[in-house]
């Protein structure tokens, strides 16, 4: 038995933990959990916990439906919301086939595989997400349009701000779970908030995003409200994105940094950025996986539908933040299209694969775009060689389907399942008559 497993067994005993929740993520990015008692814990470490995966999204296979959950002892964490008399804990799991090989449908292992490939080139991949979300009075769509809890705006400090109080409690709980928060504030839209996590290695970040989504929802629910990570829940106000700051390290050196460059960006950093831009259209179906995601991407604000980069241009897909002098370690790029309803394991896998492809193929970074791309006409943008991201899930899936990079990065199983699942989501949407159509056409035709 490994030391970290002994640590878990002993902690469970000492703290009187009654239930251990084994967490994993389905292909769509929903958190799943199977709970075991302390008596089963040792066997869970030795042999894994066998369960039927056929009803988990993306886990079904033709021949075998059973899989093994192998708890990752280093992720053992007491749950701060458990009661004092009934402490419980969680561990993230890797999913295996019964012969103990990695299960192709497990997004966490897909990211682990991609990180290991990067590691073979001596790279470790760090990320820091900025997660936006809304608080609403209810999450029940039959009650009509979602009702925000306040009408405050960006950075507003309000006295009777219910939602800011919720955010504060959320942050305390995240900190108690070892998820350090860098900033948090009231965003532009009513009841919209942003929590920025500190950089960590991408696998931890993805685990942390899964935990964050649960904690945010849980605390809202306890106070009778509803938190939503839907990318565009309200008409007329900005939607929720998840900008991610990315950097590559080799040992302790940030390989994106070059102090002598005008942008502070090394050749490797430029190539990585070029890779991300070059493959952006292919990976968008995963970074923006809902029909609704594309309503956020079509608005003229913080959501960048154009494939370009700049230092200070909020209409560009990639931003290269201007840094204070003497901070080589904070060299990074910000990828601005993803939304908080994505599967973070798969999204990070693809962004990393795209960037690394840029490095291995020596892609050239196009010139910086300083114009506001929203103000240009279609022809002007085309003349500058600036392409838009896919405008709908349908288009994004078409582009993804032809991408060998996405297939390699996700593996055949997830690649094919994702396309099937999302095609069917699109066709359901396509055949649905929307309120827009009724309002617009019924009175006239």
């Amino acid at each position: 038995m490994e030391r970290d497993q002994q640590y878990v067994l002993r902690s469970v005993e000492e703290r009187g933990v009654r239930l251990i929740h084994l967490w994993f993520t389905d292909v769509l990015g929903k958190l799943k959990s199977v709970a075991i008692t302390p008596a089963e814990l040792e066997a869970a470490f030795d042999e894994g916990v066998q369960f039927d995966g056929s009803s988990i999204d993306g886990f079904s296979r033709v021949h075998e439906s059973d899989v093994l959950a192998r708890p990752d002892a280093t992720s053992f964490e007491l749950l701060p919301w458990a009661t004092r008399d009934e402490p419980s804990a969680r561990m993230f799991c890797d999913i295996q086939n019964l012969d103990e090989t990695p299960f192709d449908g497990d997004p966490r292992q897909v990211l682990r595989r991609n990180l290991n490939e990067a590691r073979a080139d001596r790279y470790s991949f760090f990320a820091a997400p900025e997660v936006e979300f809304f608080y609403f009075a209810s999450g029940d769509p039959s009650l009509g349009k979602p009702q925000p809890l306040d009408s405050a705006s960006y950075f507003d400090l309000t006295t009777a701000d219910v939602s800011s109080n919720l955010r504060k409690r959320t942050i305390h709980m995240l900190e108690a779970m070892g998820i350090p928060v860098e900033y948090s504030f009231h965003e532009d839209s009513p009841s919209q908030h942003e929590i920025d996590l500190r950089y960590t290695e991408a696998l931890d970040v993805a685990d942390n995003i899964m935990t964050l989504r649960l904690v945010v929802k849980k605390i809202a629910m306890e106070s009778g409200t509803y938190a939503s990570f839907m990318p565009k829940p309200l008409n007329g106000v900005q939607g929720s994105g998840m900008h991610v700051h990315l950097s590559l390290f080799s040992g302790d050196a940030n390989v994106f940094h070059d102090g002598s460059d005008a942008y502070g960006l090394s050749e490797t950093g430029r190539q990585f950025t070029a890779g991300v831009l070059h493959h952006a259209r292919e990976i968008t179906a995963v970074t923006n996986q809902l029909v609704n995601s594309y309503k956020r991407l079509s608005e003229k604000s913080e959501a960048p539908p154009y494939i370009a980069w700049a230092r200070n241009n909020r209409s560009a897909l990639v931003r290269v933040p201007v840094r204070r002098r003497g901070k080589p370690s904070s060299a990074r790029i910000e990828y601005r299209s993803p939304d908080p309803a994505c599967n973070p394991y798969l999204a990070f896998s693809l962004v990393l694969s795209a960037g690394l492809r840029g490095i291995s193929e020596g892609y050239e970074l196009p010139a910086e775009t300083s114009a506001n791309l929203h103000d240009l006409s279609h022809h002007e943008r085309a003349a500058m060689g600036i392409e838009p991201l896919p405008r709908s899930l349908d288009e994004a899936l078409d582009v993804m389907e032809g991408s060998e990079l996405v297939r390699d990065s996700l593996g055949d199983h997830i690649f094919e399942w994702f396309l099937r699942n999302k095609r069917s989501e699109w066709s359901q949407y396509q055949s649905t008559v929307t309120p827009f159509e009724l309002e617009r056409y019924l009175p006239t035709w």
Binding site: D4, Y7, S11, T74, S124, G178, T200, E201, F249
Partner: protein, 225 residues
């Protein structure tokens, strides 16, 4: 404070790490003269002698210990498999031996068996520092009597720091000693864990771990300083 005498100097990293994680205080010596000069006020707990590809220098050191040139009661010899056949004539020079490359857990059990039984050492099973208490036997930590919910690596990092109050460690040292020499992550991993530990210690006690600008981190203040 008592310490283990370890030969040779420098100590191979995997041995240093096992000793650190096990919570042993130790000092390295390149020869008998150094071992005598560095003897702690309370004496040596025992000695670990690790042979290189050539067994002879290690045996020479063992012989000096055996002859009483250094005051050490028990001695553990680490050898590689190729030395096994030449070991028998020298069995009086050591109290136990272990094959190298060793399994850290095996070595730790042998160390406990040999040196704790000899009554030479205070078991480092409780660390108390101001409001912080750590029980190394049960893996539990508490601050102001409030249990701390730590992950395994957070626990190991806090234990390592708390075993060496006042001492400044670079990120590289912490990475090597706590995570291990084969860990590929870079020193930012250390920053991330320190930040997590501070958030779990709570605002009031976050400053138990201090950032030493452009050097690394230290815990509390030295007992001697």
């Amino acid at each position: 404070m008592k310490a283990l005498l370890v030969f040779p100097d420098p100590v191979p990293p995997e041995l240093a790490q096992t000793l650190d994680i096990g919570g042993w205080a130790w000092k390295a010596a390149a020869d008998v003269t150094a071992a005598r000069a560095d003897e702690p006020a309370d004496g040596w707990v025992g000695a670990i002698v690790m042979a290189g590809p050539d067994l002879e220098p290690a045996l020479r050191f063992c012989r000096s210990v055996h002859n009483g040139e250094v005051d050490v009661r028990s001695l553990l010899l680490l050898i590689n498999g190729g030395h096994l056949q030449s070991l028998d004539p020298h069995h009086d020079l050591f109290d136990d031996f272990c094959l190298h490359p060793f399994h850290p857990q095996e070595l730790e059990i042998r160390l406990k068996h040999l040196f704790r039984r000899s009554g030479h050492t205070d078991d480092v099973e409780l660390i108390e520092y101001g409001p912080l208490a750590m029980n190394l036997e049960t893996y539990q930590a508490a601050i102001d009597a409030r249990p701390l919910d730590l992950t395994y690596m957070e626990y190991e990092l806090l234990k390592f720091l708390a075993l060496h109050p006042g001492k400044v460690f670079t990120r590289e040292t912490l990475l090597n000693r706590v995570w291990g020499y084969d860990y590929y992550g870079g020193a930012r991993t250390v920053d991330v864990h320190v930040r997590r530990l501070r958030s779990k210690l709570g605002e009031e006690h976050a400053n138990l771990i201090q950032t030493v600008r452009s050097v690394g981190y230290s815990f509390g203040r030295s007992r001697w300083g």
